[in-house]
Amino acid sequence: MNPFRRSPYVIAAAVLVYVFLYAPIVGLILYSFNASKANVTFEGFIPAYSEHVVMDGSLVKSSPCGPFHWYCELAKNNDVAEAAGNTLTIAFVATIISTIIGTMAAISLQRYNFRLKPFSQLSLYIPIVIPEIVMGIGILTLFSQVFGWLNDFLNLTGNARLSLGIVTVTVSHIAFMVPFVALVVQARLQGFDKSFEEAAMDLGANEWITFKRVTFPMILPGVLSGALLAFTLSLDDFVITFFTNGPGSTTLPIYVYGLLRRIITPQVNALSTVWILVVFLAVLTLQILQNREQKAHP
């Protein structure tokens, strides 16, 4: 029996599910070229290039950027630039911190025994089994209580008052990212046995050299994929950010959500399209890297 033979029903079902997954995305991209500013119906592509934007009611007749009018508007939008900057800053800082401390925790949980170990291990599952909104409002309560108390206690006034902002968002992101890094690295550590490390020690390497030359190179792929997972979780996060952000720390998901509750122009679609394109390139790069690793170490 050919193991790769599949029934036509399975193939048909798979095709339908792929259509379901992609139809909304295709629609989203198409509407980013919409000539209609109201963006309710698709009124065709913006037909022509001109020196200035020419409008006819809510229809864009021609634009310096032609069909890409909404992308040019997007590039001029300072709020988007600020939100993108915040999103990336938070994701980078939170990824670096959570990757370092998460990897440390994974090594500790996989290679050492200590009294706190069951508690440390169990705490890693909290973000998986508890809905994000529960964590979100808990963290919000914590920050507002502690900040309120500190502000009164230290008599802080004006700008010195502690409030929600980019720091609280980053700190909260790390809390839900660390467990994912730790679990991914732990799974990788489980994959090979201790004898490599023991051999290095027998050959006279101290613990630091063993870590640097043996353990770390072996877990590096796990660390990198944990970091990447953490990075995307941070970029994508809405709920935790929603409850912990303050003035000036708006991220892209929060910004888009805000727009959805007001007037929606095709600019939102242009922003979404750019985002999807970035994701596409990121996933593609990752796949190519993984394939290369698989070929090098089958």
Binding site: R6, V178, L235, V268, V283, Q287
Partner: protein
Amino acid sequence: MLKRLRESKSAQGTLLALPTTMWLFVLLIIPLILTMIVSFGKRSPDGNVIYTFTLDNYVRLAGFSHDCPDGQATCFDPLYVNILVRSLSLALNTTVLVIALAYPLAYFIARAHPKQRNMYLFMVLIPLWTNFVIRVYAWMMLLRKEGAINIILGWIMHLLHIPFTPLEMLYTPGAVLVGMVYEFLPFMILPIYTSLEKIDNSLYEAAADLGANARRTFMRVTLPLSMPGVVAGTILVFIPVMGTFIVSDILGGRQVILVGNLIQRQFLDARDPTFGSAASLILMVMTLIVTYFYTRKFGFGEEIVVA
């Protein structure tokens, strides 16, 4: 001190795990304890918390109220119970539908030629990594009265010479269900794929040699061995669906209120954190109970981290 650290393996282990454990303790466990304390408190007139011990918020959630229309001392209004039941049944329906859609696709990918598998998986990752809020927005555009689904239905009806009035799909419970299924589908496909992919081909060959037909092979070999993936996927889908408020907010309008929306409004519009905290704890307890009984029956494997 340093010498002791160098010698004691247990001290080294504790120290390595300490930053993570502390971080999670301060930002996940303390907030949960705080939420519990706040849920037993009272709301002050300016929306702050008065710390006392009262079960009022839980009594209110259970539907018993003291401001009754006809002068009774207490009366029963199942408003919040209905919200909890609605959230639970939506989460169950979503999970079942997601399994029904994810399983065939995961099976298709797992049994594809190894050279094509990566491409098919890649095609699942793109929608997964596209932002959550953007994906809800995409459905908002499709489901609108002037949206693509109504346009396509209109064309078909026109060709069939059947009169057609555009359907009102947005701001209905159905829209929320479709949105939830779409949002969480990839979280089911990946774990099921992982467990299907692990099944050794020789098992299929053995089943065939022993005379099992395709259906029997599936029921006796494939399905049982893929259960860890289904269980992991269910946890990754069911729990977030229970707590999500964006999908119902955008696709359900004010029509479909879930426990997530209830909690969010207590913290932002209604400004009653004590009631919001009580609702949030009930939500947590509900998800923990379901997860506990579900995983106790089936157990969950390492598939939980693949997504």
